[in-house]
């Protein structure tokens, strides 16, 4: 199984600046070809930092550990190697389609930029840009290719960004909060489009989000992060029925639902996420956890332990599973 993974991340840690606190600490996961993976967590949980560090896109950060793309080490690799992978083999879609596009270049110019850099002729690259715009559902693509970003709506801009990411037919598409800036109806269209494109191209998809409902619809495997650590890894079908960590359970409980108004109040997770640099000892979730015992507070930071269908970092897992049933 291991060798089939197109991306293999091992003991990845990220520190910013001179600080000794780790924004991401020793996380490991794999991504198989064609797989859809969701990484969910609250702000500051390290979900974006972990992905950007793999692509060498974090400035003033110390990255340790290993991330191998098709066996090639990316951590510490030079720009020459990374430039051959960024955009070409791994495409990236970021949250804000307003910031991701250059306002003074036509969208066609921006979509075809990577292709031209790889030696395509201007004409052929532009033709391909039109084709890509058609694929991502931009109407009258042959005219719109010459339009500027401000002439597009938010949803259409995100389609343009997706077209850019798809331009060089990457093996992995990473989308970091791709629809947070968009309205719900547009959100669904954009997510459907990404999923469809990944299926058509046999591409792997990684969606980073704070929104559990997105991963519950669009990704098969799910990683939940808290304070720089992976606390649970599970499957889409299992995570929502049988969470393997009290934090995941807490997140699911605190979501308001339509058609379920039995409880007058929402269950909440007490307190708030820790601040980097003031991380609690032991399990980082213990100050907010109702299952915590002294081992959780004083022991070492618990590692991920394999369970039948996933992994959990909860050392009280048996107690948790028994009592939360």
């Amino acid at each position: 199984m291991q060798s089939m993974n197109i991306l293999e991340v091992e003991s990845l840690s990220v520190r910013f600046g001179e600080s000794s606190a780790k924004a991401v600490e020793e996380i490991s996961f794999g991504l198989a070809k064609g797989e859809t993976l969701g990484i969910a967590g609250e702000s500051g949980s390290g979900k974006t930092a972990s992905i950007l560090s793999i692509l060498g896109l974090l400035q003033r950060a110390t990255v340790e550990g290993s991330a191998k793309f098709e066996g090639q080490e990316l951590i510490g690799a030079g720009n020459k190697l990374l430039n051959g992978i960024r955009g070409k083999r791994i495409g990236l879609v970021l949250q804000d389609p307003f910031a991701a596009l250059d306002p003074v270049q036509t969208v066609g110019h921006q979509i075809s930029e990577g292709l031209r850099a790889s030696g395509w002729s201007k004409k052929r690259a532009m033709q391909h840009a039109v084709h890509l715009l058609e694929e991502v559902g931009v109407p009258s693509a042959s005219e719109r290719v010459n339009a500027y970003p401000h002439q597009f709506s938010g949803g259409m801009r995100q389609r343009v960004v997706i077209a850019m990411a798809l331009a060089q037919d990457p093996d992995i598409l990473i989308a970091d909060e791709p629809t947070t800036a968009l309205d719900v109806r547009i959100q669904k269209q954009v997510l459907d489009l990404m999923k469809q494109q990944c299926e058509n191209r046999g591409m792997s998809l990684v969606i980073i989000t704070h929104d559990l409902s997105i991963i519950s619809h669009y990704t098969d495997r799910i990683i939940i992060m808290y304070a720089g650590k992976i606390v649970e890894e599970s499957t889409r079908l299992k995570l929502f029925d049988r969470p393997l960590h009290p934090y995941t359970q807490g997140l699911l409980d605190c979501l308001p639902q339509i058609g379920n108004n039995e409880n007058e109040y929402l269950k909440t997770i007490r307190g708030q996420p820790p601040i980097l640099g003031q991380l609690p000892s032991g399990c980082r979730f213990h100050p907010r956890c109702s299952f915590a015992e002294s081992a959780c507070m004083h022991g070492p930071n618990p590692p991920l332990i394999p369970i039948k269908w996933g992994h959990s970092a909860c050392i009280q897992l048996e107690k948790f599973l028994r009592e939360s049933q």
Binding site: E42, S43, V184, C254, L255, G259, I269, Q272
Partner: protein, 262 residues
């Protein structure tokens, strides 16, 4: 029907699209809504549908082109700033972004006491401090927080401060414009519960703006659905969400991804 606390009749507001453009966008198109005392009313719509324009117009922070606004039985559409001032006590606002809505140079005490002094006439120092401590406890913050500045708080805590500031003047009516959409999931639930408690214990009327239908469903009694500056559907929350009449509402509901693995 009970006398409404807040009512709008045929509000219309158009914005010009740019300095040199003669084209105008209609942000509000003949909008009539009402909010009864003690009622929490949701306002749902996509960006650009006119939700915030409506809220700002009701609070008289924006001038409408035509139509009427009533508060507590009186028309307030054309009230001057000074005539409006006593009403500011009754009508408070909680904004989306708790980072930009609090003055970074004021202590929490100063932020909250401003309204107390202006609108409730309290001037005794200890009285004011006791009152601030009370309010901070109500919104779930430690009373010592009053000596700190906004930068020392997280997003959720800042939103609690913003709510405390609004409550400090004992308003009858609270407008919340996307108050939880900038917050993390676990914090969002805390703030929603807080608003629900306030609604029950203080009998405050609320206009609650959100794009998140599940949040509206949790908190509101009734809701208006807005599209392109018009109210296209309204009714009790369970009714709208269980049997939406308009195609647009149905679309919104089916596009709202709910946690569902199957």
């Amino acid at each position: 029907m009970m006398a409404a606390l807040v009512e709008t009749r045929g509000l219309t507001k158009r914005f010009s699209q740019g300095f040199f453009s003669s084209q105008k966008t209609t942000a509000l198109d003949d909008v009539s809504i009402f909010i009864e005392p003690g009622e929490t009313v949701g306002l749902v719509g996509e960006s650009g549908s006119g939700k915030s324009t409506l809220a700002l117009s009701i609070a008289r922070l924006l001038h409408v082109d035509s139509g009427q606004i009533f508060f507590d039985g009186d028309e307030i559409t054309e009230l001057t700033t000074s005539k409006m001032r006593p009403l500011r006590k009754e009508l408070q606002f909680v904004f989306q972004d708790p980072y930009s809505s609090l003055n970074p140079r004021m202590s929490v005490k100063a932020i909250i006491s401003e309204g107390i002094r202006l609108h409730r006439g309290l001037s005794n120092k200890t009285e004011i401090e006791d009152e601030i401590a009370n309010i901070l406890t109500t919104v779930g913050l430690d009373k010592d927080s009053m000596r700190k500045h906004p930068k020392e708080f997280s997003g959720g805590q800042r939103q609690r401060i913003a709510i405390a500031r609004a409550l400090a003047v004992e308003p009858k009516f609270l407008i919340c414009d996307e108050p939880v959409s900038a917050l993390d999931m676990s914090i969002q639930a805390q703030i929603l519960n807080l608003l629900k408690t306030l609604k029950k214990e203080r009998n405050i009327s609320m206009l609650f703006i959100s794009h998140d239908l599940a949040v509206i469903n949790f908190l509101c009694d009734r809701a208006y659905i807005m599209k392109s500056g018009q109210i296209i559907e309204q009714g009790k929350v369970d009714k709208i969400f269980n049997s939406p009449k308009e195609r647009y509402t149905q679309d919104l509901l089916s596009a709202s991804l709910l946690v569902n693995a199957n």
